[in-house]
C-alpha cells in the first residue's frame, strides 16, 4: 500500500495560519498550567503509609487476597494507593501507601473501609491496637534534590542536542528543533493541567519519550531539506523546504501511525496503571508529528530570512 505519493501540500505557504493555531494552543496550555496548576502525584509530594494486619481470628476464613484489598482501598477513594505484603505473606501484614497528608484522618478512613468491606478478617479484633500496626507520613520518592538533578540533566541534554544539530546542520536548525520540543512538552503538560490528571514519575518518563520521538521526526525533515538544498540549488528556498516536508510526509505518517498503534494498545489493553502514560504518549506523538510538519522547519525558514543570513547559512549547509 502506498500513501501520500507525490503530494504537494502548501505547508510553507500556509505557515501564518499554523503559527496562529500553534500560538493559541501554546497560550491555552500555559494558562492552564498557571491557572489550574499541576497535580503532582505522591511520587513528588509524599503521602501516608499504614501497616495493617489482616490475619483472621477464625481459622476457617481463607487468607485475604491482596488484589481484593487493593480494590477496596482504591474504590474507597484512594486512587493512587500502593499496597504490598510485608514480611511473610502468611502473616497477612500489608503496607498501604496512599495520597494525602493528614495521617490521623487517613488512618480512620482505612480502618473504616476495612471494617465495612472485609469484616471477616477483623471480626473480634481491636482495630486500633491489633489490626493497625503502624501509621506514618512518608516523604516524596522524588525529593527536591532529585528533581533539580533531572532538570539539570534535561537542560544539558538539550544543549548538547543543539550543538550536535549545529555541527551536522546549522545553528538555527538546532535552536528551532529545541523550540519545537518545548512546544510539544508544554502542550502535553497543558492537557494534563486542564484535565487535572496526575503528574507521576511515569508521566515524566512519557514526556522524555515524547522528546526522543519528536526530535527524530524533526531531524528526518531537516535531513531532507539539507539534501534537497544541494539538489535544487536554483529553486527558491520556500519551495525547497516545502518539497522536503512533502516528500517525507508518507514516512512521517506511517511511522506516526505504527507508534500510535502501540500507544493505543497500551491505552485500551494496558489497564489502569498505564492509562495516563499511554494518553501522554498518544498526545505527544500527535503533537510531535504535527509540529515536525508545520512548525520546526517553518520556524527555521523564517529565522533565516528575517536575520538575512539566508545566503550565508544556506551555502554553509549545502556544503555538508
Amino acid at each position: 500500500m502506498r500513501i501520500l505519493q507525490n503530494v504537494n501540500f502548501p505547508f510553507v505557504q500556509s505557515r501564518r495560519i499554523t503559527y496562529v493555531i500553534a500560538a493559541l494552543a501554546l497560550i491555552a496550555s500555559v494558562v492552564g498550567i498557571f491557572v489550574c496548576g499541576l497535580n503532582w502525584s505522591t511520587d513528588f509530594t509524599g503521602g501516608v503509609s499504614a501497616v495493617i494486619n489482616m490475619k483472621p481470628k477464625d481459622p476457617g476464613v481463607k487468607p485475604l487476597n491482596i488484589d481484593q484489598l487493593r480494590d477496596v482501598i482504591r474504590e474507597g477513594g484512594f486512587k493512587e494507593s500502593e499496597i504490598q505484603f510485608i514480611g511473610n505473606p502468611a502473616d497477612a501484614t500489608f503496607q498501604i501507601k496512599v495520597e494525602g497528608s493528614d495521617a490521623e484522618q487517613i488512618k480512620e478512613k482505612i480502618l473504616e473501609l476495612v471494617r465495612d468491606n472485609l469484616d471477616d478478617y477483623v471480626k473480634g479484633r481491636n482495630l486500633q491496637s491489633d489490626v493497625l500496626r503502624e501509621v506514618n507520613t512518608v516523604g516524596a520518592k522524588a525529593g527536591a534534590e532529585m528533581r533539580t538533578n533531572v532538570i539539570t540533566a534535561v537542560l544539558i541534554a538539550l544543549l548538547l542536542m543543539i550543538i550536535y544539530i549545529w555541527i551536522r546542520f546549522e545553528f538555527t536548525f538546532g535552536l528551532m528543533a529545541i523550540v519545537a520540543l518545548f512546544f510539544n512538552v508544554v502542550l502535553v503538560v497543558g492537557v494534563f493541567a486542564w484535565t487535572g490528571k496526575e503528574i507521576t514519575m511515569q508521566i515524566i518518563a512519557a514526556l522524555l519519550t515524547i522528546v526522543g520521538y519528536a526530535i527524530n521526526d524533526t531531524i528526518v525533515v531537516f535531513d531532507r531539506i539539507r539534501e534537497d538544498l544541494r539538489l535544487y540549488r536554483k529553486d527558491p528556498i520556500e519551495s525547497i523546504f516545502n518539497r522536503a516536508i512533502n516528500s517525507t510526509l508518507s514516512r512521517t505518517v506511517i511511522t506516526g501511525g505504527s507508534t500510535l498503534l502501540t500507544a493505543f494498545a497500551l491505552y485500551f489493553f494496558g489497564g489502569a496503571v498505564i492509562h495516563d502514560f499511554a494518553l501522554a504518549i498518544i498526545l505527544g506523538i500527535v503533537i510531535g508529528t504535527l509540529s515536525s510538519i508545520f512548525i520546526a522547519s517553518n520556524l527555521v525558514l523564517d529565522t533565516i530570512k528575517s536575520t538575512r543570513l539566508e545566503q550565508k547559512s544556506l551555502k554553509h549547509l549545502s556544503k555538508k
Binding site: 500513501i3 504490598q84 534534590e145 541534554a157 502501540t262 489493553f269 494496558g270
Partner: protein, 532 residues
C-alpha cells in the same frame, strides 16, 4: 562484491546468538544446569524485593539541623545505591526521622544493608612507636585494673583467670602481678600487638564502651586491623594498632577514589592480583599528605576506615604527588563498595537498622497481565501494519522485529537493568518507533524505484541515503539518553538505559540485519521486481 562481505553474516549471527543466549534463562526450567545464570531483574512493581527501614539518629544534632540531616542522608543513600548498580529503588522518608528503602531483586540483603549503613570515615593516622605504645598500654592497663568494677566483662574474665592461676604455680603468679587483665588480652608478636581470635568480640566491644573511651589516656587510640568478617574461621590473632590520635589526612581531603586490580606480577604481595583503591587527594589534601610523609620517614602511617586499619605501611619517602592507595582489601565487592563510599560524602548522622523485610509487588497480577496483553496486541498490530504497507519487505521487518524486542530484553539482562511496568510500556513503544528506520529505508527505495532504478540499485541507494538520516536522528537521541544516564538519578537512569539499548538495537536491525535478509531473500539473483 562489497568489501568485507563476510562481516555482515557474522555480525548478524553474533546478534542472534547473544540475544538467544541471554534470554535462555527465562525458559530454562529450574534445576537444569545452564551456564548463563544472569536473569532479567523485575522491578518492585512487578515482583517486589527487600525493604529496609533505617532510623537516623538525630538526637545529638541541634533541633534545626535534624530535618536536613535526614534529607542529606536520603540523598547520600540514593547516590550509593545508584552507583552500586541496583536500578529502580524506592527511597523515601517515613515518619519524623526514618528512611524507608525498597530494593528490587536484591540477592544479598546484608550487602545492601551494609552499603546503606556504613559511614566510611577515612583517616590517616601515625602508628605510635614501640616505646610510646608500651607506655600507653601499661597506663591503660593500670587505669582499667583500678576501675575494674566498671567493666563487668573484664571483671568476670579477671576472676576466672585468678581462680585458674591459684591452681598453678606461684612463680607465674608473680609475673602476672605486673600486668592486669587488659594487658593479658593483648599478645605481643615481633612487630605488632595482636588479640587472640577468640577475644576479638570482647575487645571490639571494649573499644566502643564509653567508660573505656573516657578513661583512656589522651593522645592515643587503639584500632583493630580490618579482616574478612565472613571468614572468621581463620584462627590467627588479629593485629591491634596503637595509633596517635591526631588525624593527619581525612576523608574530606580525598578528591576521588577508584577500585583497581593490582597486576599479578606486582612486587608488593598486598597488591599482586588483588583489588586495591587508588586515592587522589585534593590540593590541600596533597599538601597535608606530603608534609606528614616528609616529616615522618621510617614511621608507619595507618590507613583507617571506620576505625579498622586496612594497612599501615612504613613511610619510605615524602610523597608529593597527592596519590595514595588502600591495600589489604579482601574481595572485589568490598573494594567496589568502599570506593563508592569514599567517593560520596559520609552520612550526616549515624543510621541504625530498624527492620528488614521481604515485600511483594506493588502491582496486582491483573495489571501485570494487562501490560503483557497490551504488549502482544501492540506488537501484532505493528506487524500487520507493516505487511499491509510493505508486503514481503514488511514481513522481513516483522521477523527482525521479534529479534529486536528480544535484544532489548537480553541487553537489559547483560547490563543488570530492571524491568518495570513503565519499562514494559517503553519497550512496547520502541517497537512502534523501531520500525521508523525501516519505514525510512523502504520509502527511500520506493522513491528510487519510481525514478526508474532497478530493484537492486534502488535498494543500494535507498539504504545509503536513509542511513544518513537514521544516524543523524538516532545519534541526537542517544546523546540525550547518555546525558540523562550520567546526570540523572533513579528511574531516569533506567529509562535512559532502555532507550539507548532500544536505539542501538534498531539501528543494527535496520542497517545490517534488514539489509542482509533483503539481499538474501528478496534481491537474490537478478530479480526484476521487489515486493515493497
Amino acid at each position: 562484491m562489497r568489501k568485507y562481505s563476510w562481516l555482515t553474516p557474522v555480525a548478524v549471527l553474533i546478534f542472534v546468538l547473544v540475544t538467544l543466549v541471554f534470554l535462555s534463562p527465562l525458559v530454562i526450567p529450574k534445576g537444569v544446569s545452564w551456564p548463563i545464570k544472569q536473569k532479567l531483574n523485575l522491578g518492585l512493581d512487578l515482583k517486589g524485593g527487600t525493604q529496609i527501614v533505617l532510623a537516623v539518629q538525630t538526637d545529638k544534632l541541634p533541633m534545626a539541623n535534624r530535618a536536613d540531616a535526614v534529607k542529606n542522608n536520603i540523598e547520600i543513600i540514593r547516590n550509593r545505591i545508584d552507583q552500586f548498580g541496583i536500578a529502580e529503588p524506592t527511597i523515601q522518608k517515613i515518619g519524623e526521622s526514618d528512611i524507608l528503602v525498597q530494593l528490587p531483586g536484591v540477592k544479598d540483603p546484608a550487602a545492601a544493608e551494609n552499603l546503606v549503613k556504613q559511614s566510611a570515615i577515612l583517616e590517616f593516622k601515625l602508628v605510635a612507636n614501640p616505646e610510646e605504645s608500651e607506655r600507653f598500654l601499661a597506663q591503660l592497663d593500670q587505669i582499667i585494673q583500678a576501675n575494674l568494677s566498671r567493666f563487668p566483662t573484664l571483671a568476670k574474665m579477671d576472676a576466672e583467670m585468678k581462680s585458674l592461676d591459684k591452681e598453678e604455680s606461684s612463680v607465674e603468679d608473680s609475673l602476672k602481678t605486673s600486668s592486669g587483665i587488659f594487658r593479658s588480652l593483648i599478645v605481643t608478636s615481633e612487630r605488632d600487638y595482636a588479640v587472640r581470635n577468640d577475644d576479638v568480640e570482647v575487645f571490639r566491644a571494649l573499644l566502643q564502651d564509653t567508660t573505656f573511651v573516657n578513661l583512656k589516656p589522651k593522645g592515643y587510640d587503639l584500632a583493630l586491623e580490618s579482616f574478612d568478617e565472613t571468614k572468621r574461621r581463620n584462627e590467627e590473632p588479629k593485629i591491634v594498632y596503637v595509633l596517635k590520635s591526631a588525624v593527619e589526612v581525612q576523608g574530606s581531603d580525598i578528591d576521588g577514589a577508584s577500585m583497581e586490580i593490582g597486576s599479578t606480577s606486582s612486587s608488593n604481595p598486598q597488591m599482586a592480583g588483588k583489588p586495591y583503591i587508588a586515592l587522589t587527594f585534593t590540593r590541600t589534601g596533597a599538601r597535608k599528605f606530603a608534609n606528614v610523609t616528609g616529616d615522618n620517614i621510617h614511621e608507619r602511617l595507618a590507613i583507617v576506615v571506620d576505625n579498622a586499619v586496612y594497612s599501615a605501611p612504613v613511610i619510605q619517602d615524602r610523597i608529593p604527588d597527592g596519590k595514595a592507595t588502600i591495600t589489604g582489601i579482601f574481595s572485589n565487592e568490598e573494594a567496589r563498595s568502599l570506593a563508592i563510599l569514599l567517593n560520596n560524602e559520609s552520612l550526616t548522622a549515624p543510621i541504625v537498622l530498624k527492620n528488614a523485610n521481604q515485600v511483594s509487588a506493588t502491582l496486582g497480577t491483573d495489571s501485570i497481565k494487562s501490560g503483557l496483553i497490551a504488549g502482544l496486541v501492540g506488537l501484532l498490530a505493528v506487524m500487520i501494519f507493516m505487511v499491509f504497507f510493505y508486503n514481503l519487505s514488511g514481513l522481513v521487518t516483522d521477523f527482525i522485529l521479534i529479534f529486536n524486542v528480544g535484544f532489548i530484553l537480553a541487553a537489559m539482562t547483560i547490563f543488570g537493568g530492571t524491568l518495570t511496568m513503565p519499562g514494559i510500556a517503553g519497550i512496547i513503544l520502541s517497537i512502534g518507533m523501531s520500525v521508523d528506520a525501516n519505514v525510512l529505508i523502504f520509502e527511500r527505495i520506493r522513491e528510487e524505484m519510481d525514478a526508474g532504478k532497478s530493484p537492486r540499485s534502488a535498494a543500494d541507494s535507498g539504504f545509503k541515503r536513509a542511513s544518513v538520516t537514521i544516524w543523524d536522528s538516532n545519534i541526537t537521541t542517544v546523546i540525550a539518553a547518555f546525558v540523562l544516564y550520567q546526570f540523572g538519578t533513579g528511574p531516569v537512569r533506567g529509562f535512559a538505559l532502555t532507550l539507548t539499548i532500544g536505539i542501538v538495537g534498531s539501528i543494527f536491525c535496520a542497517l545490517v540485519f534488514l539489509r542482509y535478509l533483503m539481499d538474501k531473500l528478496l534481491l537474490s539473483g537478478n530479480r526484476q521486481t521487489l515486493s515493497i
